[in-house]
């Protein structure tokens, strides 16, 4: 099922209850600095469950930084400093007591370039569950199958789970990475330009997949491709120079933005 902009024009088709639930990710005046450099500044936004939220904006505007803040992947970079509040499921991400392992299993991530480990397909998907302490073979088998089915790649690889993941095509690898992220049963799935290294057909399949996943998972996707943002997302946030300029329903951002900057960007006059 291809989710199109036309389809999105009927928001009533979404159950209202979803819209009203407590936001999964809550950001209040959140800032992040790399040493003296500003990553993101004073972000305040709520991300709602079981929906797709797109983050768009020009290069270097802090979209990826914000995304990676949500599961603290920025910790890898030295001299990172944060201010303000960022919550996932009511838990402060940057609290000292936050269990990083739990957080990252709650918040799965898919990267720009497909990055399967140089292991078998099975071992790739089973990596997360094994970290969680799942040891039983049949249980692992079950989780792997479920995850691969959820990532719509099961039919292509079911006969050859022992094959190296690196032997798959780029699009298959990316879906495998999604399956790997789903295997830890996260609530949130962060996608950092998941299609930028793929050809249009593979991109189409990933987008279909996102459409299928949004009923179960909260998806935050960073993308450069505005058509893609319009196709897959329900809400969109426009970032510029580390600041959140506008955050609203996707059709509003693309058809009738409040801010001049947003309009310039989505109409292609800028960025």
């Amino acid at each position: 099922m291809r989710v199109t902009l036309a389809h999105r024009e009927a928001p009533e088709s979404k159950p209202q209850a979803m819209e009203c639930t407590y936001p999964v990710i809550r950001s209040r005046g959140f800032s992040l600095h790399y040493g003296a450099k500003v990553g993101v500044k004073d972000i305040t936004m709520d991300i709602h469950p079981c929906s797709v939220t797109a983050i768009i904006g020009p290069s270097g505007c802090g979209k990826s930084t914000f995304l990676r803040s949500i599961n603290r992947m920025n910790d890898l970079i030295p001299h990172v400093r944060t201010e303000g509040l960022l919550e996932v499921d009511g838990q402060n991400v940057y609290d000292k007591r936050t269990n990083l392992v739990n957080l990252r299993q709650q918040v799965g991530m898919v990267f720009q370039k497909p990055n399967p480990f140089p292991k078998s397909i099975f071992d790739n998907v089973a990596y997360g569950p094994r970290l969680q302490g799942v040891r039983r073979g049949d249980e692992l088998q079950h989780i792997v199958e479920q995850s691969l089915r959820a990532a719509a790649i099961w039919d292509e690889v079911k006969d050859d789970l022992r094959k190296s993941a690196l032997a798959l095509s780029g699009g298959q690898q990316q879906r495998l990475c999604i399956a790997r992220a789903l295997a830890t049963r996260p609530r949130v799935l962060l996608m950092d330009e998941p299609c930028s290294a793929l050809d249009p057909i593979a991109t189409g399949r990933i987008e279909d997949l996102i459409g299928q996943l949004q009923s179960t998972y909260t998806i935050v996707i960073v993308t450069h491709n505005m058509q893609q943002a319009a196709r897959v997302s329900e809400r969109a946030a426009f970032f510029c120079l580390g600041e959140l300029i506008e955050y609203d329903r996707t059709e509003k951002i693309f058809s009738n933005p409040t801010k001049k900057q947003t309009e310039d960007y989505v109409t292609g006059r800028f960025g």
Binding site: N71, L76, R104, N115, F117, P118, L131, K163
Partner: protein
Amino acid sequence: MNLGVRRTLDRVFTGLAGASIVLLTLVLIAVLGPMVYRGSSAVLFQGTVEFRKMQRDLFRRADRTALAAEIAETDQARQVVYEMIDRFRKGIDIEAMSSEARQINREYGRELRHNDASADEYTEAREVARTIRDLLQEAFRSQDIELIRRNVAEVLARKDEARFTGTVAERYFVMAADFLEAAEHIDLSHYHDYLVALDEVEVILFGSIERPGLLGPRPNQAARPLAMSSYGATRWDQAQALLDRLLWAERWVEQEPGQPLVKQRSPRAELFHDTALEPLFTYVPQNLNEMLRPRFTVYWQFFLDDNFDSHYFGGVGPELLGTLLITVLGMLFVIPLGVISAAYLVECASEGPAMRILRMSINTLAGVPSIVFGLFGLAFFVLFLFPKLGFEPKACILAASLTLAVLTLPVMIRASEEAIRTVPRSYKEGSLALGASKFRTFVIVTFPAALPGILTGVILSLSRIAGETAPILFTGAVSMGPIPKSIFDPTRTLSYGSYDMAVGDRLAMMVPHNQYGMVVTLILLILVLNALAVVLRSRVFKKLKGH
């Protein structure tokens, strides 16, 4: 630049590159070829019956009945040589003959006393015997052939006297006859020269206490303490060299006063011209085959056998074992240490002045001469650390492998560091994003992905550890000694053995095939170990690539 010129330049460049590779290959062949050729003669050669005897006695390895038959046959062929020499010696060895004459006289006297002869008979017989002895001794000392003939005739005239028949005195007459026969052929004025020349021939043929001969000790001779001089030429090429020495006498001659001496070769047979020994110099070359029975031998046990007398006999078994032990133990130290250090440098350490100093130290360590590591190992591991840990402070396998591990650590660290650094960041991020800890990420994702590069470091360290000599000079290597029972014993190694044979030992110089054999064994060992590592690396690589 126009296209033609560019194309020409490209071709020149390709040609140069190709030529340099060909040149390198040629150099490699030129260096290794002769070594391998000479080393192979430690295993493949023409072994004589003496080699088989040695194998029977020292290594308990022979077809005993067949060998006994062979020895009987060769002994028969050698008997002629023994007889020739004995006969010749009778004519010239005056001291020996004089003492034998005296001996006969004494024994005859003792016999007479036992025979209950009357006093008169006894006195007379003793008197005659003494006269014969004196006549003979006078003849032995004389250089006048007339006097010799007269004395011998006088002695032989008494041959048939009844009192001598059946007694020890009969040997007088045999001796007299033999001596006269020899004296007729020998220039008596030179008998001393003959004696010296004969001694030389005997040493070449039968060896001496410190030098192996062509045929080995005579069957009735006393056993010699060294194995090497207890056997004749064990190899046909050795036999040829000794034969050459037998046939040609070398003299250093001063041609002009004050000038360096000049070596001159002359046929040794000339020294014995017209004597009973002259036929020896045609008999030996003609019958050498019969006396030594060379046969093509594949001595594959060379790689396993113990050795005797500074590698004069035997193989390189203990050396091979020692090298393997030290290498394996050293790798056990250096691989984990190197990988962990590299992991720390890449994954955990933050850049700063301390880090710069650490890195510089590692690089400097890689350039320190190996002998310095040897002395360090002696001072630190053997003399300082071992007593502290309650071990005996002596050079041993453990100390040697630790020293070698320290020596190759920089190589290992740098190779592993490079390997770990080149693992795509996305692997690490992927693993961390799934909630894995840094340690787990390293062990499960980064390390396997870096394994091919780490194995390259292993190959480099392996060759270094197996081949280094200086670091183990004082920390664990010996040139002889028992096979180690534990890692707290010193051991023989191929590298140190090669060094020791090259500089230390006159005996070793006499067996270049064993010397080269040892070096070639070392080269082969390193090649085999490297090949194993390369195969392992390519398998890991294939697995990673998913083919």
